[in-house]
């Protein structure tokens, strides 16, 4: 690549995004099935971070709860 990394990456992402926009629905379903996921089932792992809170949010919520816990405890 003959350009600055940030410029090259954005151009690459744009090009790959077009590929993904043009891909058939079946390719996404097949991709999920390849990974052992069934997007048609309720609570499918394919939708982690999309239909539910993602792993980072769950982790952040857990940290937030842990940080609050000491204040909730009655010192007496």
């Amino acid at each position: 690549m003959s350009v600055r990394p940030d410029v090259g990456l954005e151009r690459l992402i744009h090009g790959l995004e077009q590929e993904l926009l043009e891909a058939a629905d079946e390719e996404f379903m097949a991709g999920a099935h390849d990974l052992g996921m069934n997007p048609q089932s309720r609570g499918s792992a394919a939708f982690v971070g999309v239909k539910d809170f993602g792993p980072q949010l769950v982790s952040a919520l857990r940290r937030a709860c842990e940080e609050r816990r000491p204040r909730d405890v009655d010192p007496d």
């Binding site: 990456l9 590929e19 937030a64």
Partner: protein
Amino acid sequence: MAKRQTMVTTREMAGGMEFVQPPAARALAMRLVTDCDLLRLKVIARLHGRSLPPDISWADLLQEAFARVLDGSRTIPPHVPAVAFLAGVMRSIKAEHWRRRRRAAAQQPALAHEYQVVAAETAEACDPQPDPERWLIAAQQLQAIGTLFAQDSVALQIIAGLGDGLTAEEIRRTLGMSKTDYDSARKRMRRALIRAGLTLGVKQ
């Protein structure tokens, strides 16, 4: 509705303890998108997430794009597919994020000056001043994407062409590929991208 100034990050949501249904799920319930659209947008979000700093996840980007459409701050024009529009919103949010970072970096003139000494040698003259963090993330992610296609030499050549801003036709001509071979390589690339985009894990 006034446009939000900051992106809703998972951390901020946790701080506010907002236990609400994610915007993407609400959009699905409203039939703005389908399940398959969500899969496609997840893969696209993870792709865009590659050029964001680690404190902002692809899920933040995706949910923020949906949130802006749902709250009316971004309206899907008639005849524009929702998925393509949401992908555009993600691009816009990302650009907005880096603009904010650039403004913040301008408050550190010493660091910026030292960086410019190194960066000036390879930077394109017409581009705005590069952000050191963005430069580093981009270099790492270009390498990561290269690793994703490490077993496919044709895909690697196509990637290099896309990074150089070439069109599909220009890449095909440069590589001397038939349309069939090129389409076959694109299909392999899409498959790898989709797998990478749907696989479990926090990292993009």
